[in-house]
Symmetry: C2
Subunit: 220 residues, 2 copies
């Protein structure tokens, strides 16, 4: 089982000078937090890191600290390019867990569940049933309409796949997707849903960073 | 501005013997946490509590501690019935903020934003753009398909309304809705979207309760 930690974005919506994967929460960058979690996960054998172009040096000190970290790869322009490049480094026959560095508090049990389901079904995503009412936003900051939320789940990461399955999905090159599982779904393959966690939330906006810092203060 | 805290559910999905609004987080029930927040919110003048049938006594000790708490009302069978009963207690001409007790960590600034926008536009909901990929679940725990998430926002509470607007929405009695704003939308009225907060998350499942307890440990 290889973990592919995707940290190649240039996301600065958080407002800092650093891309968000290098922002610190409780003294550690989001990338380091992810490394610690996957390093400690019994299901994970090795880790590959996808970094922004020109920032591969960031991996040197990390390789000394994280035994499972095999190496780093330069990411591409879009998230999909980055995953594709990371995939090239992996051997065949295993499982890959693709994880967004923007989810630095994913609990170990989610990783175990995804790895197990990916091995069994070929593809698995952690997710939670949506409890909030969903609205489509219209013009001028108003609600256009309320959407049906029955059986709607919010997908998180790591998403797990047999390496061959994800390679085939990316080989298709069938346009963009907001997550890896969507490409596998387009192949007509089964993607299993496993239970995610509220702690696997994604850091996108300043409020998410505030939440992460509160959790770090509580020892997460 | 009146806050109507809806705590009439019988939700036991959390697994305890108590309905979830009476579960304790960091030593206080979810109901008490909501009362503290609304008591401290400058925009709020008075508070009404909707409790489960037969549990009005729970309000007696609270009325001594929360000066703005005007009284408690017995809720109905569905959430909508509970809101309707609470609405009957309010005078005319004001703003009502309807809040679910299952969101016991809503930040004060969200309350202020909703109150301001409700006064200006007649109806306002706090919400956040959905960052996770949304999946429709099919049979047997698998993904049926990936949904378009562009311009999809997840609505939270408190939702704010001019009292007359929400009364008219409920008078229609046009079936069930998962939130109050949806009834106002059916009237064809404008509902403003204001910025919510990750801290306004809803406690539904055990993982949410775990998140709330971690945040309580961090002083929230």
């Amino acid at each position: 089982v290889s973990a592919l930690i995707v940290a190649a974005g240039r996301g600065r919506r958080l407002g800092g000078r650093q891309p968000k994967q290098f922002v610190r929460v409780g003294g550690r960058t989001l990338v380091e937090r992810c490394l610690r979690i996957f390093e400690a996960a019994p299901a994970v054998d090795d880790i590959w890191l996808v970094l922004p172009a020109g920032r591969l040096r960031a991996a040197y000190p990390l390789r000394r600290r994280y035994r499972k970290l095999r190496g780093a790869v330069e990411g591409g322009k879009e998230r999909g390019d980055s995953v594709r490049r990371g995939l090239q480094r992996l051997g065949s026959g295993g499982i890959v867990l693709v994880h967004d560095a923007a989810r630095p508090m994913v609990p170990a049990e989610v990783i175990e569940r995804v790895a197990r389901a990916a091995r069994r079904h070929g593809a698995a995503v952690p997710a939670l049933p949506v409890g909030d009412t969903l609205k489509r936003a219209g013009r001028g900051g108003r609600v256009a309409r309320t959407l049906a939320r029955a059986r709607v789940w919010a997908a998180q990461t790591p998403q797990g796949f047999r390496v061959e399955v994800l390679r085939r999905a990316y080989a298709g090159g069938r346009g963009r997707a907001t997550d890896d599982a969507a490409l596998v779904e387009r192949l007509g393959r089964r993607v299993a849903l496993v239970e995610g966690s509220p702690l696997a939330f994604k850091i996108t906006r300043p409020g998410d960073l505030r939440l992460a810092r509160l959790l770090a203060r509580a020892g997460v």
